[in-house]
Symmetry: D3
């Protein structure tokens, strides 16, 4: 049977009430000249699918529109194709979905996030639902970079230095993951040389044209490969499984 | 090049500023024992794709969570797997997406709806954006049943009477469309006999268990076929194309 | 004793806790050159009063400002005198009124709607209140056209064809009802010939001046009469009474 | 021609664009054993009508549901029949109505309030509209007690002392106004003796049953009369006219 | 131990669960040429501190940004330095703070207000929290002028007439309180002669430059003194203590 | 003249329109057994004051109630004394304050944050204001840890390892800053030994009692000192000054 909720009929979904429901959340956001706008959404969905296979979970339809892209972690709103939701919109979107799951009797919910900027608003939604339902369900939110074991960084950044997570936008890790998950969507002939700038330690509005490189890439994607993508998945997945085991008692 | 916005890079999407952008909107909703939860989302997306092919448009990622399913047009919230957004959540979700398109310079937007209950809230979002932007973009919303030529009804309902659109949930038209668009997701061995009830001419809360048949089907899907699905598509598509030609001057 | 809540003192209203409370909702909206802006509000109130007489109910003050008039069911916002509430405003207005009734101990609430565009937002309010109060009250919403027996259409449209409900704005049915309910407010010397256009099967913003005829009438009101108004009332009222009997066990 | 907007057709209303539009706002609130729930709404509407006659204005449909009744100015929410809107609901209701008037080209708007508790929220709506429209219209809010010349108090309270405006709920002034405006709705045989308590100089929640007298009256209505009602109207009306002349340059 | 919550550690605050928690609320608002922008905030905080000393209470951090200053009670928004919150912002700010106190187990909450315009919105927040928590805590709101015994007015206004509370902005009472509480922040060499205008008995938008005197003072502050400030405090404080004793049973 | 806006009169504040306005934002949050609830607010205010002295800026009143404390960066909501605002409340609070500054003509605004959890919501407010005002003002948000030069970590953590910023709650850096800024509020006799746990790489609701150590401290504060506090200030301040110089052209 499919791991995707959307492929199921309602009785099939109903039968999975004691399984972990995984809600992927990504974005529609510029990812430089070589990666598609779906990058975060695809990565969220693929990690969710792999996780579902390991724990016999079910993958909900991906939230494909996310919170506002910020200049120094995603390039920001000045690039066409970046579709930014307001904070309160994302909070209530996640809130309503979670409430419906709780009403339907699901108590093990895992939100798989692949767009850094979503996090504070997703967690706000979790908190609101938790208060309204008096903690009726266990709701976990994670992403693929925070649970990553430290030695993976060394494996991936074997030839170029790690620029820090904020700048890893359309750079080595995301490019490698996309080469692994969806190589047909990667235009590796269009990658550009990027001299990683330092992430500014503050936010400033209005944004300026040269806040980010013209291509939208914040750091180099040189030496990306599907193999490196696979390494990330193979190393992160057991961590996600462990989180589920610990928090959901599965 | 793909018609899907999500497959494009930002410069590719940027190049389509004078094209029609199509935003499919469906739902995650019970569709009886034989159709998957994605039915409305899939139909919205497929009509969008076919339309894009005809007018060289671009298809945005589908909004897969929609407004609350109502008992007599969708079976209602008592079925697990039906994920209902609050009205204001959907209004602001659509609002934010439209605002971003307008800010990015797109002026021809077509919302392709396949879940009846979405409509009033989608149109509210359109009105709000129109006021805020002083009509900077032309925004059209349609679905696949209102533009359908009347003679199609006779072609489709050749052996059973047409129960009215409200009851056509998981019935002949949706089943035929899914048999055409995604036969692998249809479990035609699980269809149940349904004696179409009359749609109640009013709304009542709280809902009751027997407001809708136990299966979730509101009318019979007997004599559904991929051929009939193709007929619907072939007949409706030119109408959608005409709407676009007239309203977007393409 | 008056059927109008507003004429009662609080102890008199308090004594009616086991009666059906009827909340009329209309609009303030252009109704062509011959009908007043109160048309929907007056019709909602009069149906409510007639219903209250039949079931010994109580009629709340009419909600006279409604949701946005749409071009092809009401002429739209371009006509002065059309006062359009935003969707969320109407939702919370109805929500708060319903919540107060429930808090006061009323459990049988009937919302009598006479403005098509209100419906989705009124029902959203009902759903929200139902969730918040765990279904403490039975809340019904209906209008005067959906429960109308089919043969009434033939009686009313004896000389001109029925243009469909969407176009029946300031046309035969509403004009006849107003001639019956409030003839002094009808300026039958100002009616204009209207060639009914077809209702467009989609929504488009921004609106254009010629989306609707200059007069604001969407269909002809020829052959309207107070007698026809009485026929509608006499035929619809028993249906409304039946709904109340069935849903409120009265 | 009627002074009531609701009796007009849209072209008639359109012709009044340079007139003062008067928006009455009252409440649905307990008014002791002898006055009806419509008391504030009726008084607001009647003052509006009288004002319209003097300045050739137009009276909009009355807002009949108002902000929460407070114990020491209206008896509070514990009496059935008191329908309390949340603050934000009233703000947006008034906001939307004002915005529509401004969009329709009206620039002289007078809000006639007869329910003390409404005021802060009505003024918030005025401020919001004023900011959004850059002051496109002159919007005035007043009531019937603040512009009252001081000598009227002496005329009205000739036999009993004036208890202060906060306690003048269902007491001498409101009872006299209702005896003048709508004597058929007054049950003067049901008045009760009330020993005016002092208004508490603070607010406290939760309310207690004995915060207000059991009847709902906060002060005595002894010696009320239609004549006193007429005195109030005759004395206040010129003040309202003066406000309009000064602020609207009419 | 400090009476200020902010000086305490969490276990120290936790030990005060059966004490009265006092929440001061003021504003950031022009106060003529001689008083600082903190005037209302300082007065609210100082009354709170004095009250805490009398009843062994605890003083929360002052809410220093308040509701919109109105022309005839605070000079209005045209003066730089007046920072006006929208009504809904203040409602939810107070709401959230109160909810947290209730969740932490505090049941005796006193809101000490020193900015007239805050009151309706603070009370709305109290009502919302009271409904959501089913009256779990007793919440009182007062200020320093309503509980003031009447004879204090005569003591303070011994040489100039009392202009009414609305005009007492940056005038004798506030200036005297500030001379008592924070003399170092008063620039008594900059006071200006003000001929008290009458408070207008209505609200009008847009505001005009000459709605208030150029200095921002609405009435004279002549004959203000620290001694008069002390008189106010000495007379009002016992009243506040009495309110607390009565409502909190301390 | 004072650097604090609240000490100024409105004309004094008005004279500073071309200066940088600094808005400190902290929290009311448990800080273990030895630091007061004001810790974040005090640190934000003190950094603001020091910055104002360097750039002749003006310090607004501190926002003392912040976004929800999270278990692994602040100990979370289970500790009494932690007052958590909802996300939308904080967004609109900051939004309204910024809007008022822009309306008053200020164009250089620096938000000094000392509570990690605030950041996403503060930046959302900045973005909303920027959109509404078309970038009329330059608005910067920073904190004291992101601009900190890397070598400071080595100076501060000379005897214990740096546990990471997430765990630096009531630990060496905050304790040292408080010993420097407000030693009288530090109870160094109550510090407890803490074995730094690892920050969990995910969020989970509901929280559990043992998610954080019983004291509320997430890491050790051993070897904290006022001297170390001074080092942080001396090293961070030039960075903040540089940000201001660069972004505000001062």
């Amino acid at each position: 049977m499919s791991y995707y909720m959307h492929d199921l009929t309602w009785p099939e979904f109903n039968d999975k009430k004691d399984k972990v429901v995984i809600l992927p959340i990504g974005s529609t956001e510029q990812h430089a000249l070589h990666l598609p706008l779906c990058t975060d959404a695809k990565i969220a969905e693929q990690f969710s699918l792999h996780l579902a296979e390991k724990i016999d979970g079910v993958v909900m339809p991906t939230i494909v529109y996310g919170y506002k892209s910020k200049p120094l972690s995603g390039g920001g709103p000045l690039f066409p194709g970046t579709i930014d939701l307001n904070g309160s919109t994302l909070i209530y979107l996640v809130h309503d979905i979670l409430m419906e799951l709780v009403r339907d009797g699901f108590t093990k919910i895992f939100i798989m996030n692949a767009h850094f900027e979503n996090e504070a608003f997703v967690v706000e939604a979790m908190d609101l639902v938790n208060r309204e339902t008096n903690g009726a369900a266990t709701i976990v939110e994670s992403n693929w970079w925070d649970p990553m074991p430290e030695d993976v960084i060394d494996l991936i950044f074997d030839k170029v230095p790690f620029p820090g997570w904020a700048l890893e936008h359309a750079a080595v890790t995301e490019t490698s993951l996309m080469l692994y998950f969806a190589p047909q969507l990667c235009r590796m002939d269009r990658t550009v040389d990027v001299v990683s700038t330092n992430a500014l330690p503050y936010f400033r509005y209005p944004l300026k044209k040269d806040d980010v490189p013209e291509s939208g890439a914040l750091a180099s994607c040189a030496y990306s490969s599907a193999e490196k993508g696979k390494i990330i998945v193979d190393k992160v997945l057991p961590e996600l499984v462990n989180i589920c085991k610990k928090e959901f008692n599965i």
